[in-house]
Symmetry: C4
Subunit: 228 residues, 4 copies
């Protein structure tokens, strides 16, 4: 279609639909930068002659945090990859929702650093504050995914051809699960024990890793996500 070659589709009703190429390029750029900036945190330890190996071992915890953060941003990228595949075009509203999704990805290094700081240098009160802060950030991050799926559910003409309406409806389960369980993790961390809250957060990251390709309809599909 000639209009598609020009990067613009004709308006539908009042909503202007355009291709997703720039949304993908911009989003991939943001994800690539966030995941690469993490390496700036890796530093050669200070050491006296003969003490390099000991120095590297002492920094082990911060290297582990780097690996976890790299994996977490990778998980979000895979989820975003699957998200954009659901639509055949984007609108101004979807672009704004996407910007808030990226906002959530961009801030990840910050609550992660607060958490690492609280568990290495802080006391129990700091750890409770850090877990609650992390849970708040995670809530911020789940909300725009719910907005994306809901918007797509209300605008079926934006769905990619091979995606069924019930598939989009099912995906809303994931950010709602995220909102509720990240919130619960924050409350558990604040009122019960920060480590309990932390375990809840890690469980949620793994949950988003295994469901990145989306949930399938039906009770089995909710247990066994798609993908190879």
């Amino acid at each position: 279609m000639a209009a598609a070659e020009e990067g613009t589709a004709p308006p539908e009703g009042q909503v202007r639909v355009s291709e997703t190429d720039r949304v993908k390029a911009f989003s991939d750029g943001v994800f690539a930068i966030v995941i690469t900036l993490l390496v700036l945190e890796l530093r050669v330890p200070d050491y006296h002659e003969g003490g390099l190996l000991t120095g590297l071992r002492h920094e082990g915890a911060s290297y582990l945090a780097f690996v976890v953060s790299f994996g977490y941003i990778g998980v979000i990228w895979l989820n975003h990859h699957a998200l954009i595949r659901l639509v055949r075009g984007t609108t101004l509203a979807l672009n704004w929702i996407n910007l808030t999704i990226l906002f959530g990805a961009v801030i990840i290094p910050f609550p992660t650093a607060v958490l690492a700081s609280a568990f290495t240098e802080g006391d129990s009160a700091d750890q409770r504050a850090a877990v609650a802060f992390y849970a708040l950030a995670a809530a911020l991050m789940s909300a725009p995914w719910l907005a994306f799926f809901s918007y797509l559910h209300r605008h079926p003409t934006l769905r990619a051809r091979e995606v069924g309406p019930e598939h989009v409806r099912n995906q809303r389960v994931r950010p709602v699960t995220g909102l509720i369980l990240y919130g619960l993790s924050g409350l558990l961390g604040w009122f019960v024990d920060p480590v309990v809250g932390l375990i809840g957060i890690i469980v949620m990251i793994v949950y988003h890793a295994v469901t990145s390709e989306g949930l399938r309809a039906g009770p089995l599909g909710r247990l066994f996500p798609r993908g190879g």
Copy 2:
């Protein structure tokens, strides 16, 4: 068309027209980097044991500045997204104009930092200087958008097929509004009150957010911009 597959269209008169793919890729890269570099400003506060929550609350203003800057660069990206959709190809002159548009985006963190510094550490004279400096930067940023629309108006063969000549002509209202009202904000900030100038600047950011998809022709269109 064979030539289009090779990434190059035949010359029109003396002007060589090429596809917009690299302009989009380069621009998206610049926007993605600027918006992500902002996170480098977010730092874990210094605190004594048990003081993390208080420390985070004290830094609240700088976190707010991060959110505003993220939104502002997002607004410029959306405007740029709509801008490139107006053309079916680019020329050397458009590439230079685009570079000056990107220049405006890249410097945003700097006048923002000057403004934040003046309102947290400076006196009234500093605040007046910072608002005037910000207004000067905003004028620099509006000028190339006017140049883009004017160039496109004079070279109708570069217009994307579904874009009418009157649409391009109408868009010139936006950067002219920006030039005049940012300038006025600077003068108000310098001669009257820095806070009055600041309010003018924030109003203009919101104006560019709601008109990112372009102004529609006619008096109603100027009030109600396109887009979903």
Copy 3:
């Protein structure tokens, strides 16, 4: 094919295959950022009036390290370029393997910095530790390449049309060579002499440079790699 235009191919068995465009964009973004961040290490030397030339000469070793690192990341990018050309689509499993490949590229500046530090400031024990650490990192980097070729060998439908099954099988020789010889270099560096280990590492970088386009079948092909 309509489905391909939408960025999604129909599922094969249970595996969902999608286009490689976002994998390429994300990977290129990561490589471009890692290779450019290296320049942040280049600093104007401290000098007294008239001492700039001497100062620049003193920093010669760190400038050489910059050149080597730039070339190394370039080699990995060329290998990745040839790797992605082998497949006609990507799956969730390939995306995860690709993320671990990128992980290896992103950490390069860190073991390189440890190595440079050990050979300029450390003693023999530090140098042995640094060479062993580098060899460990190199093993981490070879493993996902082996996983990629093995996965592609087991899923022939993912192969690009012009790539034969024996070509994919042959490529597994390269990461296996990397795993064994990087490991051997680490053991030699730790137990014999760090310089011997270092020479082994440099030989392996050159090996990956000349075989970036892949090994050809047959004994001659293993000596004379493809490419122009």
Copy 4:
């Protein structure tokens, strides 16, 4: 053509030709990052209350250096944009040449910083050294452009369809001019006067700006470059 859709063209003789999409994406990423990293150099001046305006004026020279560097990298991007349009595919050799072109772009901030340092803090000997160093870097940057045009001249099948052989041959004039006149500027700066060398360098930047779209054949074409 089916093979082209897969991102790979059939081999020609022994040389494997592939599409330029990843070369463009990787190069645009590098250019976008280098041009954006410059903003990290812009800092709010230290000032006492009421001294912000004075502080900003004092930093004027470094802000000018930022503008010049932004323009210079923009010029190289435009030249690269036109360079890639000359070819219909890339080979391993062209990829290596492109990496050395990017190397030249990535290091720009460094000799620029040395130059700025020498002219603000150094004496005449430092300035001579800095101008000679800058000229050496500029020679490094011109050489791979000559290699690119020469390789393309020797491999006419790689030329984009609408590009004539004499056009490619003519382009070699530009990097040769760069090599000779940057070298001459270095010698003039070292043996005569650093300011004379500096003027030569600035003239060369402007020369590459106005010839970014390539030289036209014939004596007039050499004076009046193509482009809009």
